[in-house]
Amino acid sequence: MTTAVALDAVPRIRRGVKCAYDQIREAHVVLFPEGVLVLNETAASVVALCDGVRSVGDIAVVLADEYDGVEPEDVAELVARMVERRVVDVDG
């Protein structure tokens, strides 16, 4: 079960986690001790903004400039899944 992430929580990519673009799969990927996550475009955009400064709400605002219909709750849910996979940590 994933733990809920608040909109004012500040996500940060964990130590030891590498974000990369895989030319073979033509997809953004996250590399970490346990394995590899192949990200879709939305997830890649969210993970790229997990910088330890922006809150979940801030990330939703940034993404709303690029994409239609971005809901902060959707960003929170995606961040929660990344926390569960130990790709991202949250403060606050």
Binding site: G16, A20, I24, L31, P33, E34, G35, V36
Partner: protein
Amino acid sequence: MAEAPFGLLAELTHRCPLQCGYCSNPLELVRRDAELSTEDWRRVFDQARALGCLQIHLSGGEPLLRPDLPELVAHANSLGCYVNLVTSGVGLSRDRLRELASLGVDHVQLSLQDATKEGNDRIAGIKAFDRKVEAAAHVLDEGLPLTVNTVLHRQNLDNIAGIIAMAEQMGAERLELANTQYYGWALRNRAVLLPTRAQLAIADPIVAAAQERLRGRMEIVYVIADYHEAHPKPCMYGWGARQLTVAPNGDVLPCPAATVISSLTIENVRDSSLHEIWHDSPSFNAFRGFEWMQDPCRSCPRKEIDFGGCRCQAFQLTGDAAATDPVCSLSPERSTVDLILETEMAPAEVPAMAMRKMR
């Protein structure tokens, strides 16, 4: 065409300062003069990346015994791969680690044999405990994430709480507690290693409680003792599905233990490319997907979960690599496993551990 693999397990050498009797390396260890050259390994990494591998696990034996390790780390890193160093910690001085970290090691996986110095060094066959503790401190100082990896068996399972405490003390982010899988040296020493039901019944809840207590601080991965289970493990998440292994002599294996299947023709990187081997070789295609299966696997809904279990185990215990893993309660050969448990869990006379050594 098969999907691309995510990881390469590069067994750089079988040489190792430790002599653990649970080692899954084959009894016939590859000698130094048969090891791949630096150039060979660079080519293997290039081919692995082109094939789709994003993780390179530098393992062995003890990879620190390869003088070209820094060059190989740098090369794997230059390809954009996640570089995982799997080590005993013996030989991992502060300077050595600093160099390797600067060249691109992303993560260190450190073996620990037991909770205490006495137990650890008895199982390892050499005085390694203090050097492991030092190595863990160097990894932390360097800011790299640390996984502690302990193989569990009858000789250390009673100390599980102490092992967990030791990993916490070492500052591990992850702890892999893996019950012994019986291949290679571990199979040879099974009668010394098989845990009793009573041991597992005590250990399992201790692990579960620690997983809960340490949530968010140290992740504990627990690999079950499969002989004691009703269902087999999802070995390698399917044959030729996610990862490949290159042995020190260049043999390319669908799983690290696959040399035990004597009916399999093993390809070598000196003769073919990883692309050809992964996609077209008989060995990698032998047990891909579900078509090779016999009943009870063929008609079983669990085949999507466990992929029929382990091919090497099926071969070792039934003589047929395409049989259902005999660990499975549905296997007609399950009685073989039960008999092993009955006779080897608490043997009338416990044999001496055969320490892992090159012959």
